[in-house]
Amino acid sequence: MNKVTLESIINKILSKEVDFCETFEEESITKVYKLLNGKLDKINYNYLKGIGIRIANNNDIVYGYSNKLDNNSINNLVDNLTKNFSDNKKMSNIALNDLKVYKTKVKTTHDELSDDKKKEYLYKIDKIARSYSDKIVQVDASFYEYDGKVTIANNSLNYVEDNRVLTRLIINVVAESNDKQTNSMKTFGLSGGYELVDTIDIEKEVTLLAESAVKKLSAKPCPSGEMPVIIGPGFGAVIFHEACGHSMEATTVALGTSVLSGKLGEKVASDKVTIIDDGTLNNYWGTTNVDDEGNQPQKNILIENGILKGYLIDELNNRKMNMNITGSGRRENYKYAPTSRMNNTYLAPSTDKIEDMIKSIDYGIYATNMGGGSVDPVTGDFNFSVNEAYLIENGKVTDMVLGGSLIGNTIDILKNVEMVSDDLRFDTGFCGSKSGNVPVTIGEPTIKVSKILVGGN
């Protein structure tokens, strides 16, 4: 929609007793190239085009969306959304500022890499995995491409367009022996184009996945009970994403029900814990040029040396909390109202040595590869799964064990982070919450947690 149309929609809404109005237009293409059985099996294509309109008066909020973009449909949507607001106009009409245009830095666009080249790369993954062992029975590898344009306009005169490009590679290797199946999975992603493949040592990564899947076929059951655990770098950060990240989002903090509500300035974690959410990291998977409310992302220090320093605040929760907006308003697409969400969340590195972590444990687990998890931000009870793990016995890493899950409570676990190494690594994922699934990066160096409940047999 052009500027005049948007101004007319916003001004029509401002004729009611409202003090906030925002339009969010989105047009995007998502394409997934999926390799299965050594062949390009599917291309999934998804085209979205629609608008979301958010209106507020103090803390009364309405949200609506439609992909019927003709004048009549938009007028119906606006009428429906404003019908319960009185005619006591309280804000002046606006004229939007000039459009600010943002663009993800891309070296190799999705179109620049031909379909044949994409296929060649996927074939290579299949070949590397299957050549590792004849026990590899399936290689499921996909390229995910997102090209989207969002335009955000609001009565604070924010008027921005963001051209977003995301690229991701997902590899899942399945091994089988004697009717037992195992799998190992890894993802790589960035906010950018096919320069992604230049950042991956594909031979090494796929071989490691194949090796892990085959080794799991003869892995012992995971022990269970409360014990010390070393969590490897990268995706292991899901522990902080789940255990405390969600509890620092304004969605629950503003209600006063988050386990970390009202604890600013308090010691909530061990001295070893400094957690940062940074939406500005150059071309990271969870980075945005502007957030989904048109605000600049920023580096937010959430916990510093164990002290709770801040929360993630979006535009409307800032009203309830009277705290500065942190550029964290995010949504999956125009069908969701935005709320405060994480971008690239990581635990800052420290100086402890992994060898010392291992030596310090008589009996425990070394979780080298983690899966996803979930949390109840109100209670702080969380879980996350272990994809690959080894036993630690008498200060030495011994047998591989099958994955289980780790569960705990935010408050306990943050205090139980005993050692933090310097090998900070990042991994990519999608995080699901109130405003849908958004791309996030999580990062951590190897850590030792003094005790956590391990689910096993």
Partner: protein
């Protein structure tokens, strides 16, 4: 627009079919005694299935105003795909007319109903927050190709309620889901009261001793597991070694007390559909009968590959459930005598492996001693595997309830399941 697309496709020798999905949704969120958010939406989306040069392409789009772009994409994608395949397209099927209009709802009454639940704060002063979500979803689907136009509609009411209880500085959450064809506040209130009692008990929850236990998994939690594994019967997943049932067709996989059916034509259930996403008539079927895996699911393409008939499940199963037994939930507790009730399982997206069948899930529940609830439990882990779990069935309850359009489940009593706790 669809006509133009069909004509253009025909002129390029592309066989094509459009699945149209129209949604009109109204959502209401209340927080305590206030309307927190009102949401309204109206969307159309299109799934275009095409067969060109012996390749199948599916395009999902929200805009069909430019048929040329769609056709060009179809041609480009078929050029890129490696596999030659075949599929079939919808033909006239003998269906009932189910093209209903959107039901009118009194949203003001619904808002007042949801806010009225705050009266329970007087009786239970530890209730900190009551957060209620109501969604009224009208859905119309149609399939259009050169031969047919099939239409089906549904009106579904969704309720999600969350209660936060605060006692001595500790927070506890309780929540419930309800899905129904008709809005019925008395059922919402009934579930709400049950949830209050549960959250009140959970505030004092502790962990348990790691051991093998007899376990009752409550109906909604059994359904979560069933739903997580809903694609494991799919013929393509099985053929590609991406299902825990890869080697199990026509074999006994579960206890003979387990029969799993898909019941998509039952008008009393919320997931009822006349036809699937490829226009095949839906029908009642047993997926697992007396523990034996007897029905693989086929869309049109995979039916041709394996020489079978499509099973009317393209787009996913509807109204899938475990056939209930005769014991009430209370009977299950009596039969268990000593053991654990699991009333919440979390983290299934990561802790339930859809390829290997491994299950390692955060749980809450109650310990039962001599047929009576002795204490509430939290921060425990249910550690098992799909086949192990459903082979260890003592009896299936009669409290079948539907929790989504995909289906539901009764509660089930299992034996010898590992529960990991801190003790």
């Amino acid at each position: 627009m669809i006509d133009e697309l069909l004509k253009l496709a025909n002129s390029k020798n592309i066989k094509i079919e459009v699945f149209v999905d129209e949604d009109i949704t109204t959502s209401i969120e209340t927080m305590n005694d206030k309307l927190e958010k009102y949401e309204s939406s109206s969307t159309n989306s299109y799934r275009i299935k095409a067969l060109y040069n012996n390749k199948i392409v599916t395009i999902n789009t929200e805009d069909i105003s430019n048929p040329e772009t769609i056709i060009n994409n179809i041609i480009d994608f078929t050029n890129a795909l490696d596999k030659e395949e075949d599929t079939t397209f919808a033909r006239n099927i003998d269906i009932r007319n189910n093209a209903k209009e959107k039901e009118d709802k009194d949203y003001k009454k619904i808002i007042n109903d949801l806010i009225s639940l705050n009266k329970y704060k007087e009786k239970y002063p530890n209730i900190e927050n009551i957060n209620m979500y109501y969604t009224d979803k009208y859905n119309k689907i149609s399939i259009v190709n050169k031969d047919v136009e099939l239409i089906d509609t549904s009106n579904i009411n969704y309720i999600y309620g969350e209660i936060v209880w605060k006692e001595e500085g500790i927070n506890q959450t309780g929540w419930f889901n309800l899905i129904s064809l008709k809005y019925d506040f008395s059922k919402i209130e009934e579930k709400f009261i049950e949830t209050i009692k549960d959250v009140e008990a959970k505030i004092k929850a502790v962990s348990c001793k790691t051991n093998k236990y007899n376990v009752i998994i409550k109906n909604e939690q059994v359904f979560k597991i069933l739903n997580r594994y809903k694609d494991m019967y799919d013929a393509e997943q099985i053929r590609n070694n991406l299902s825990p049932l890869t080697k199990d067709y026509n074999k006994k996989i579960f206890s003979d007390k387990i029969t799993i059916v898909e019941d998509p034509t039952n008008n009393n259930l919320v997931g009822t559909r006349l036809f699937d996403m490829e226009g095949n008539a839906t029908y009642y079927k047993e997926l697992v009968k007396d523990g034996k895996f007897i029905t693989k699911l086929y869309d049109n393409k995979n039916a041709i590959i394996e020489g079978k008939k499509p099973t009317g499940t393209s787009g996913g199963v509807r109204n899938m459930y475990i056939v209930p037994g005769s014991d009430s939930y209370e009977d299950l507790i009596k039969k268990m005598n000593n053991g654990i009730i699991i009333d919440s399982l979390e983290g299934l997206h990561a802790g339930a492996n859809v390829i290997t069948g491994e299950l390692s899930l955060q749980a809450t529940g109650y310990e039962v001693i001599n047929g009576k609830i002795s204490k509430s439990l939290k921060l425990i882990i249910m550690q098992t595997a799909l086949k192990e779990l459903f082979n260890n069935v003592i009896c299936v309850g009669n409290d079948l309830e539907m929790f989504s359009v995909t289906g539901g489940s009764p509660s089930i009593l299992f034996d010898n399941i590992t529960i990991v706790g801190k003790e």
